[in-house]
């Protein structure tokens, strides 16, 4: 049954033919003309006239429907919101032609008006075929420059003079300026008729610093020592002490992990774990604690494997690119040749682009995947150029070593592999060029036999297991005892997870025959490969000769072979050859211990259907012989030998690399799967993977006059060169976004809001800076001081602006309720992790063990398919879970209930700023969650140990531990009453729920 042919097609075709004739005529006329240039211009002029008559009413300078203007060369070249409309020299792929020639009334242009005549369409087509030239002289210069390029964020950093101090009312008790931040902030306050707040008291200051820099409360003893400390440098010394503590890196790494949407599972369907994501998390913690210069921090996370191959950081840092969610099914179960596979990989690169450019440059770029950015001057070409930087990458486990010697060797071997790989490609290209069509044809045939046709064959496929050391068998009943002399096992071919040839062929196995269907008695061992590992045979059949008479043949896998994160056993065909070489197994009954039974491809009976990749591949050796003869004729044999030598050297290096010990693994961006080969990246019309337009090379954004937007790399450049170029572009001192972005993020974490209130979006849809002079001053200062985060923290927390009290003032609230101009310090609710860590610290149960695999406060059920992460089944008294929250194993599909309700970052989103919602569910969680109840009990135990038996003393101790101050009489009385009636545990529980516990002044 076929579908009916669309009757409209004929008419459309006719119309096309008529037009084609006209176009052809016009082109001939152009070619024959004496002055081609004059004629081109004449044609362009005709187009201009036509466009202005029929199109620019809606697509003119003022109207720009769908972001498209057709009255300037720039407008025509740039296209509209949904991409380019003209593909020079290719009228057929030009949207402009499609839209004036379509039969779909919803799409036809101009809408409602009469259709363009065939002649008119032909003029447009001829003009496009001839290159769609548009004389520059027609456009005025100011029209050529996109006004959106004037947006503040794209301009170079400007160093402003530090404003003079402001005179404040002396009675207001305002602290004098302590550093340039205060000068900038106070100049703006004066403009707004606002005034700074007085210096906060010492208890507030030490609590603020502790929560801010460590995410943990100070002990009552630390508070009291600080309150009593008369050293004029007491505050500065405290800052130094806090910055030097490893708790600082743990606290600030969490902020960074929010932005890069780090998680420990893939997300999407099946949400499988990433057991080795954590080395990236630990890298970030270490980087902050070591105060890694920001340029190096950028370089390592974008191209560490290329720039710093001898260091562990160069590898662990690549976790950034892979930090986001990953569609396992779209990658492993759907090959790149299918539409869904293409979409999955496109979206995957989109996530990489967004994560890198969004994190370091605070621009949103996603919209440019489907159309030119509406609000910012970012084109589809820019977007896909960014994708091209990641075109060779996959998310996977990357091997490296924390042992510096091993890592050095590994780096050398990788280098050798890269060089060898490049040599191999060069020779292959030479061969291809010299070998011409005849060599290409033989290679095509050889390739076709290896994969293509072969992959169509299925076979037997066992159930999928989560471990390798299981035994599985498949057996054939020949119907009667027969004389046998050979058993041939044919491996499968399946592109699943890029495995291809040898898919499912067991690592260890044995072949037996018997007359007993159960194989209990009279078993003859035909072949025993259960003691040694069998290499992947590709699609080449493995032959086992013997001599016996038997009815049943059984192949037993004693070690299964890995598939993705699981293990299987599969065979395409079992040939059971009788004494005359006839296949006795054909069509006989097959049984197996288990089988996935997914016909037609995978079903037991397929092992006796006479089909296998090897059988389908025909005479490969004959082809190989013909290839050699041809190479000899062409004088290419020595080059071919060199190629084989190179390949074998590559294999040697690969083996040496494999033997290196000890190796660690990090879930990161890796080029291993594609051997460093970048995919070709095309601009996609409307983001549709089935509508590729022109190819683009690596590049970045065309936003700055000072930085080139496309990377000039040599034609044979390695994949890594692209990422190096991107890292250099991002960390360039002339990239204003990089430096503004980072200081703004740091500022936000100290003050609750950024100088730009939208830290992930500095574009036209984001907020403008409240204090642009300060932003640029800080950005320049940070950049020129070596990009030290700790220096930046010092500068900020030592400012008088930071040290202000946070109390609300009626008159200031009336002017600036949001405190955008910093007339006080903004009081804030602690983030989810800080609340949890503080509860542990106050209860005396916090385990400060650093690093390593994340703690898991859930039980995993059904890990083999879609793991269920069951939080309610975890033991709330398990002390191994009482580590800092940054070390939590972060599941994407089933988020941690307590932290989620407290607004922890969603690992599917790049979170630049936490929500601070307040809800009844939060109240219920803090009151009733098992974690809270167990900790309140632990807290009570601690208080009893430290304060003795007297209830009032217990209440005092509990209070000062939780809030860093002693209760007044009312507070103590209320809590003693509660303790008398319902026990100290309920007092402790209450303290965790107080506004004062979660709210920091």
């Amino acid at each position: 049954m076929r579908f009916k042919r669309n009757p409209q097609t004929t008419e459309r075709e006719l119309r096309w033919y008529r037009r084609a004739a006209l176009v052809l005529g016009a082109l001939c006329w152009l070619a024959s003309s004496a002055s081609a240039q004059a004629q081109t211009e004449k044609l362009a002029d005709e187009v201009r006239k036509l466009l202005s008559e029929r199109c620019i009413e809606c697509h003119g300078a003022e109207t720009r429907e769908s972001g498209l203007r057709l009255d300037t060369g720039r407008g025509i070249r740039q296209g509209g919101d949904f991409g380019p409309v003209v593909q020079p020299h290719d009228a057929q792929r030009s949207e402009l032609i499609r839209r004036v020639a379509t039969d779909n009334e919803n799409e036809l242009m101009p809408p409602g008006g009469p259709r363009l005549s065939n002649q008119e369409v032909a003029v447009l087509e001829s003009w496009i075929q001839a290159g769609a030239t548009w004389p520059e002289s027609w456009d005025s210069e100011e029209e050529e420059r996109d006004p959106r390029l004037e947006h503040w964020a794209w301009q170079a950093l400007t160093a402003s003079e530090i404003p003079p101090p402001v005179d404040w009312d002396a009675s207001a008790n305002i602290e004098p300026e302590r550093n340039p931040i205060d000068h900038f902030v106070r100049a703006k306050l004066a403009d707004q008729k606002l005034a700074p707040a007085p210096l906060a008291d010492r208890r507030t200051l030490i609590r603020r610093l502790y929560f801010d820099l460590h995410g943990l409360p100070p002990t009552p003893e630390e508070i009291s020592a600080f309150e009593k400390n008369s050293d004029p440098q007491a505050y500065e010394n405290l800052v130094e002490r806090l910055l030097a503590s490893p708790r600082y890196g743990e606290r600030w790494a969490r902020h960074w992990l929010d932005v890069v949407h780090y998680g420990d599972t893939h997300g999407y369907d099946k949400d499988q774990p990433r057991p080795n994501a954590w080395p990236y998390r630990d890298y970030v913690i270490r980087a902050f604690n070591e105060d890694k210069p920001y340029v190096r921090f950028i370089e390592e996370q974008v191209a560490g494997d290329v720039l710093y191959p001898e260091t562990r950081d160069g590898y662990e840092a690549l976790g950034l690119i892979a930090a986001g969610p990953w569609d396992l099914i779209g990658h492993l179960e759907v090959p790149e040749t299918k539409t869904d596979g293409k979409i999955a990989r496109h979206l995957d690169r989109d996530d990489m682009v967004a994560n890198v450019i969004g994190t370091f440059n605070s621009v949103t770029i996603h919209c440019a995947s489907c159309h030119q950015h509406k609000f910012d001057p970012i084109t589809q070409d820019d977007y896909y150029s960014l994708q091209a930087n990641f075109a060779a990458l996959e998310r996977d486990e990357l091997e490296y070593s924390t042992d510096p010697d091993v890592q050095r060797k590994l780096g050398e071997l990788r280098q050798r592999l890269q060089v060898g790989q490049r040599k191999r490609e060069q020779i292959e290209q030479q061969l291809k060029a010299a070998g011409g069509e005849s060599l290409a044809e033989i290679d095509r045939q050889i390739n076709a036999t290896a994969g293509g046709a072969a992959s169509a064959q299925g076979g037997y496929h066992s159930q999928i297991e989560s471990q390798a050391d299981l035994t599985k068998w498949v057996q054939i009943d020949l119907g009667q005892a027969s004389e046998l002399r050979e058993i041939v096992l044919h491996p499968c071919y399946d592109d699943f997870n890029g495995i291809g040839a040898g898919f499912g062929f067991p690592v260890r196995y044995r072949v037996e025959v018997a007359d007993d269907a159960e194989f209990r008695t009279g078993v003859t061992m035909v072949a025993d490969h259960s003691q040694t590992v069998v290499a992947n045979p590709g699609i080449t059949p493995r032959t086992h000769q013997f001599s016996a008479t038997a009815r049943f043949v059984r192949v037993t896998a004693t070690q299964l072979v890995p598939r993705s994160n699981d293990y299987i056993f599969a065979l395409a065909e079992i040939e059971v050859l009788g004494k005359h070489g006839e296949n006795l197994g054909l069509g006989k009954t097959v049984s197996a211990l288990d089988s996935i039974e997914a016909p037609p491809r995978w079903t037991r009976g397929n092992v006796v259907d006479g089909k296998s990749p090897a059988l389908a591949s025909g005479d490969r050796s004959g082809l190989a012989q013909r290839r050699i003869e041809l190479l000899e004729q062409l004088g290419l044999l020595s080059l071919d030998v060199e190629l084989r030598q190179t390949i074998s050297q590559l294999a040697e290096a690969e083996n040496a690399r494999r033997e290196l010990q000890p190796l660690n693994k990090v879930y990161a961006a890796t080029t291993q799967k594609r051997g460093g080969q970048s995919r070709a990246i095309h601009v996609l019309a409307r983001g549709n993977v089935l509508a590729p337009l022109h190819e683009v090379g690596p590049g970045a954004l065309a936003l700055f006059d000072t930085l080139p937007s496309r990377f000039e790399l040599s034609p044979g450049h390695a994949e890594g060169d692209r990422r190096v170029a991107l890292a250099r572009w991002l960390s360039d001192p002339r990239n204003p976004l990089t430096w503004r972005s980072v200081v703004n993020r740091v500022w936000q974490y100290h003050f609750g809001q950024g100088i730009v209130a939208t830290p992930n979006d500095f574009g036209a849809m984001g907020s403008p800076p409240t204090n642009p002079e300060l932003l640029d001053w800080l950005a320049i200062w940070f950049r020129d001081r070596g990009g030290s985060w700790k220096e930046l923290h010092r500068m900020i927390v030592n400012s008088a602006t930071y040290r202000q009290a946070s109390h609300p003032r009626e008159e200031s609230l009336a002017i600036d309720a949001d405190n955008r101009f910093m007339w006080r310090q903004t009081p804030r609710r602690l983030e989810a992790e800080a609340i949890r860590d503080s509860v542990l610290a106050v209860s005396g149960t916090l385990d400060l063990t650093m690093g390593g695999p994340g703690w898991q406060d859930f039980v995993v059920q059904r890990p083999e398919h879609s793991p269920h992460y069951e939080y309610q089944l975890a033991n709330p008294e398990d002390r191994a879970l009482w580590r800092r929250s940054v070390y939590r194993f972060i599941v994407r599909s089933q988020t941690q209930p307590l932290l989620t309700v407290l607004d922890c970052a969603d690992p599917s989103m790049r979170v630049d700023r936490r929500n601070q919602s307040i809800s009844a569910l939060q109240a219920l969680a803090l009151l009733n969650n098992s974690f809270m109840l167990v900790q309140a009990r632990e807290f009570a135990d601690r208080v009893r140990r430290e304060a003795g038996d007297e209830l009032s003393a217990q209440v005092r101790r509990a209070y000062e531990l939780a809030l860093g101050r002693l209760p007044d009489d009312t507070e103590r009385a209320a809590l003693v009453e509660l303790a008398e009636g319902h026990g100290l545990e309920n007092v402790c529980r209450l303290l965790f729920n107080l506004n004062e516990f979660v709210w920091i002044d």
Partner: protein, 508 residues
Amino acid sequence: MKPDPRNGSVFHAFGKAQGQRATGNRLTRREWLVRSGGGLGGMALAAILADEGRADGTPHPAFIYTPKVKRVVQLFMAGAASHIDLFDYKPMLVKCHGQPSDFGEPVEAFQDGLGPWLKPIWEFRPYGNCGKPLSDVVAPLGDVVDRMAFIHNMVSSSGVHSTATLLQTTGFVLPGFPGAGCWVSYGLGSINNNLPTFVVLPDHRGYASNGVKNWDAGFLPSQYSGTVIQPLHDQPLADLHPHKIGAYANPLADKKVRETLAILNRKHRESRVGDQPLEARIESYELAARMQLAAPEAMTLADEPEHVLKLYGVQAGRTHWPNEINAEEEAHLFGLRCLTARRLLERGVRFVQVWSGNDNGFPRRNWDSHEDVERDHGPLARGMAVGAAGLIKDLEQRGMLEDTLVLWTTEFGRMPSSQGGKGRDHNPFVFTNWLCGGGIKGGVSYGESDDWGYKPLDRDRPTLVHDVHATVLKLLGIDHTRLTWRHNGIDRRLTDVHGHPIDAILSL
């Protein structure tokens, strides 16, 4: 008045002009409460709650139509329910059953299995005045078919479960976008003062693909997130009562803790007048206390009479079931969720999402019937039909159907060919949705699939999930293009840049 769309913080005012901030725009306490408690309402809120619309009485600017419904219940079949075996009758398949399939064009199937044409697993018979043919397996829906509107030309942009599920639940194929229920909560606020606005009733055997990403708030404030209720669990609503490990937190202690907490919190606030979050947080504890009373009452079925239980296929008191999947048990389980949904809707929950089917693992307790449609779809579809028909009839007899919308969804359809055996592969090229209830024209079928149920008959004019979402919002009174939230520089909306309300199925 709406929350600051640029950062999701509830502390910031939103100026009138896009992207511009109104300075000195200080929140009133009421406005603050609306934002902080928008998903749940608050005591102060309750007093100013209109019967419908935004809690502060000011309609969201997107609220431009006369609403036809106040509530929505979405039934989601996880794993992809077969349109051709349930709702979309294809005589051609009966005629050509067993012949090699030929689609007239290359077809990319998910698992590469394109066996012969496979006729519907069950017979189809006409029902109702409209005479709509339904499969025997969903026969219980025949009683209400005159109230239902079918859309047979739905298409998905993805044939992969996770992304296709996200597309149906959030309008996007990437995780991190708010579920439809979140948008409705954000746009309309609450119509109760002690229960969540958006409730999710997952399959008791586990979550579908993407887990909570199908209903969490994404970039919207977390109070708009779907709240999971598991009627069969020990704690149907997480942390509603103290975990058993804290025996000291008994009801008497609880009461005293809450009273003392309020006293100390008020004292703390005295020196910080003007910082509204502190007051909101105090009220959130009061609301929590009310929810502790209201939620169990909403979730119990003890006061439902036997004939109502029966209507939903619920077998009260039965605890033992066969090991194999079976229709009675599926009806009981799905019916339980439907009945709970009705109780929640009745008590002012805006949006309830009911799931059928868990992740796509084995043994199949989901609709992903690659191996055997009859084995999985049989019990699941019968259970669904019993529960859904019960829900519709019950809503109708209570007068609630006229302002409640029922939406039946799945991620995509299944192929008209077999996979060589008794199963069908994914078909993202065409599938079926149906709607029922307020504002819906009954007994109509909109959009057609082709003779095979392989693609839309008119391939240029398929129906997208965005059209369905736009329709749902329109029935709620909302223009889908105006219900937006700025996130990372883009004014995001449920319908992305697509969507047209399907007026042909509306009785407007």
